[in-house]
């Protein structure tokens, strides 16, 4: 747990307890209470965040509801160590993947405990990727990402290793090794999965899936994974040499792996967040696809200019309050665009596919070459 700070330990325990409840239950009063307590704790322990809040005239004495907790931009993690514990107590650092852009500064999340992080990811993964499996039922997890041993600062690799360790059947595998797709292994495991009576989940980054699908196409191979199989993909294509729209990726996966789009789950997550958000398709087949927020998180879609919450269906930037971020800052604003759909939300991405209006270089493009 989180060292010697009793206030923090109590917060951690409360959040972990919530993650272990089944079924999930939205409890606004409980969320507000915990969010305000966590805000007071982080305001007291994280000096940059405190000054940031004070400059906005938002202190624990003034803030009465979670919506008013000042949110920091996720980009700030690239430059500042936003921790609510002494830095020397950090036991783990997760870094953002950044992009393929040369020299881009990578964000870092320092953790003094992995307990809350793992409790949250566990519950969300079960609910988002394995909701149709009986408790204790095994699932073969095949991961298109390097292992945590190979990528120790990747939160995604850590997440996959944890779910493989705790939820996977004896037959799990990594299909990325030494920084490259292990094609023989992937083909071997896919062939075995076709014959398997056990549930199978193929999980990985969207870009790694593109590599796998390219290879299957090159070798003119198609697999028909069993009806119980599912795919989980995550991440975008920013800075990559190639970009495949999500619906095309899902159609491609369906074509080559035999897993229909209705059993393909996209995960929205980021290093700076302790929790992840999964598509609803496996838990609520037939209902509109949307990301569902675990009850210990709240997602708001904000007017990009004014900052007020926009009406359902309108485009805005995604802001998250994640109680699992006990060791850093719980309220974050992303640069991602999204829209609310019913009780969930949809992630649109950063540029919504718009062609540029001018001939100046935008934010990231200039830094691709400009960073010393």
């Amino acid at each position: 747990m989180s060292g010697a700070d009793p206030a923090r330990a109590a917060l951690d325990a409360a959040v972990i307890a919530w993650t272990q409840e089944d079924p999930w239950r939205r409890d606004d009063a409980r969320f507000d209470e915990l969010a305000l307590a966590l805000f007071a704790f982080q305001f007291a322990r994280c000096a940059p965040y405190r000054r940031f809040c004070e400059a906005r005239a938002r202190t624990p004495a003034d803030v009465r509801r979670w919506q008013d907790v000042p949110a920091v931009p996720t980009g700030a993690f690239k430059e500042l160590a936003l921790t609510s514990f002494p830095r020397e107590r950090a036991v783990h650092v997760f870094r953002t993947s950044g992009t393929a852009l040369a020299g881009e500064q990578r964000g870092a999340l320092l953790l003094d405990t992995l307990a809350v992080y793992e409790a949250s990811l566990h519950a969300s993964f079960r609910r988002g990727v394995l909701p149709d499996l009986a408790p204790g039922a095994g699932v073969s997890l095949h991961v298109l990402a390097p292992s945590a041993a190979e990528a120790p600062d990747s939160s995604l690799s850590h997440m996959f290793d944890v779910v493989m360790r705790d939820l996977g059947a004896p037959y799990n595998s990594h299909w990325i090794a030494g920084g490259a797709l292990d094609v023989p292994r992937a083909l071997r495991e896919l062939a075995a999965a076709e014959m398997s009576s056990e549930a199978v989940a193929v999980c990985g980054t969207a870009f790694a899936f593109v590599h796998l699908l390219d290879e299957l196409e090159r070798q003119q191979l198609r697999f028909a994974l069993p009806d119980s199989a599912r795919v989980m993909e995550t991440g975008g294509f920013k800075g990559r040499s190639r970009s495949v729209p999500r619906d095309q990726l899902h159609a491609w996966i369906a074509d080559r792996l035999g897993v229909p789009p209705a059993r393909i789950v996209n995960q929205y997550g980021m290093t700076e967040l302790g929790s992840q958000f999964y598509d609803s398709v496996l838990g609520e087949p037939g209902a509109p696809r949307r990301k569902l927020a675990p009850p210990w998180t709240r997602v708001r879609i904000l007017d990009p200019i004014g900052g007020a919450e926009v009406a359902p269906g309108e485009l805005g930037r995604i802001a998250v309050l994640d109680l699992a971020n006990t060791g850093s800052v719980s309220a974050l604003e992303t640069a991602d665009l999204g829209r609310a759909i019913g009780d969930g939300f949809e992630v649109i991405g950063r540029d919504a596919g718009a062609e540029e209006r001018g001939c100046s270089i935008g934010a990231d493009a200039m830094l691709a070459d400009a960073r010393p």
């Binding site: 965040y49 200019i305 992303t334 209006r357 001939c359 830094l367």
Partner: protein, 416 residues
């Protein structure tokens, strides 16, 4: 638009081009000069139509479009075009010729590059197949209309087409021209380049940035106020989306002086915003703007010497940075002010931007002005001017280091 229709248009252009090349070069240049003079006249129907229709199509405010066009056209004229043609195309008594057909790929919503990109191939008597920019369906048809008014035969040498950039079949036909004049992001240009054959010519205009540069003499007093007003105008025009829009001001001063510069610039941006209100900002751009502003505020809270000035309605922001490190440019009137240790620090301050620069507006260097100008040209700036003049380059501005007309000449082509 189908690939077959495009092929038909190209065939028609090739036929029209044969007639065009038989015409005396000066006659064609004179016709184009008349076209340009019409555009420089605020009362001309096409200019009025552009001022009327561009705001709704592009999201710029009418005030911004009006002022942006006025500033951009101020140094342009038919006479300037004649002089440019003499300078870049004259080979003794003959004029250089362009390619049989030039495909012109337009991008963005700022009209001047579109106008010049359409006129330039004709000046070298190369018919032009013009693909409109998705963000500006207005300018290209109006330019064609003005050409038709002046010289119907010349207008037959221009085809304006529209199709989705993702339409591979149409794009393949479009890019089959002998010469391609492409404007767009670096990735767009690279994708175009990858599709051209070794015998085709590509004239590329990628995306660029511009800067302000203040010498010590302009970091205070009336000189600072004047420069700040100029930078604010340069920033506000076209909502900082153009390659001649300054994304940052580098000031030869210390942290205190830098804050003084940032304050002056903030005041000036606030003032210019009342005359030239900012236009629409798309959600993604607004999110980036907000994130960069909040990130700067957080860095300030963390103890870095960073100060943020911003409009209450988020219509502009000025961030006073503590060093020269380049940072993301959210555009839409978001300017950073960086201190640099003059004069020896200038080169290293600008080095990271080498290859990305378009224009630099500078002031306050006194007798060192010429040397500084040479320095910024050495790192790639193709337009060096005073604050307030960035958006008014001359017609012959060698954008990206390329001669506006001369770059379209076919090497080895006969001149006449």
């Amino acid at each position: 638009m189908t690939p077959d229709e495009l092929r038909e248009r190209i065939a028609a252009l090739r036929a029209a081009g044969e007639e065009l090349r038989k015409r005396p070069a000066r006659q064609v240049i004179d016709a184009l000069a008349d076209v340009l003079d019409r555009w420089c006249d605020r009362g001309a129907p096409e200019r009025r139509a552009l001022e009327r229709d561009l705001p709704a199509a592009t999201g710029f405010t009418p005030e911004n479009v009006r002022e942006g066009l006025a500033r951009a056209f101020a140094p342009w004229s038919g006479e300037a075009l004649r002089a440019l043609a003499e300078r870049e195309l004259a080979r003794g008594s003959a004029f250089a010729l362009g390619h049989d057909v030039t495909s012109v790929l337009l991008a963005g919503a700022i009209p001047m590059p579109a106008l010049l990109s359409m006129i330039a191939p004709l000046a070298v008597r190369s018919p032009a197949l013009v693909k409109t920019a998705a963000r500006d369906p207005i300018t290209a048809p109006l330019v064609l209309r003005s050409i038709a008014e002046v010289d119907p035969q010349l207008a037959r040498c221009v085809e304006v087409v529209g199709f989705a950039g993702a339409d591979d079949a149409c794009m393949e036909v479009f890019l089959s021209a002998d010469c391609v004049l492409a404007t767009g992001s670096d990735s767009t240009i690279a994708a175009v380049a990858a599709r051209l054959g070794p015998d085709q010519t590509l004239v590329r205009h990628g995306h660029r940035v511009s800067l302000g540069l203040l010498g010590h003499e302009a970091c205070g007093g009336a000189a600072l106020d004047e420069s700040a007003r100029g930078f604010a105008l340069d920033t506000a025009l076209w909502d900082q989306l153009g390659c001649l829009s300054p994304i940052a001001v580098y000031a030869a001063t210390d942290a205190t002086g830098c804050e003084r510069v940032a304050t002056a610039l903030a005041c000036a941006l606030d003032a210019v915003g009342r005359e030239l209100p900012r236009g629409e900002v798309e959600a993604g751009a607004a999110a980036l703007f907000a994130a960069e502003r909040a990130g700067a505020e957080l860095r300030a809270a963390a103890g870095q010497r960073v100060a943020v000035h911003a409009a209450r309605d988020a219509s502009w922001a000025v961030v006073c940075e503590s060093d020269c490190t380049p940072r993301p440019a959210p555009l839409h009137r978001f300017v950073r002010v960086h201190p640099y240790p003059a004069p020896e620090g200038l080169g290293s301050a600008l080095a990271p931007l080498a290859g990305h620069l378009a224009g630099v507006a500078l002031a306050g260097f006194g007798t060192a002005q010429a040397g500084v100008e040479a320095d910024v040209r050495a790192v790639g700036a193709s337009w060096v001017c005073r604050p307030g003049e960035l958006q008014s380059p001359p017609l012959g501005w060698p954008r990206d280091g390329l001669a506006p007309l001369g770059s379209l000449v076919r090497i080895g082509a006969p001149s006449h």
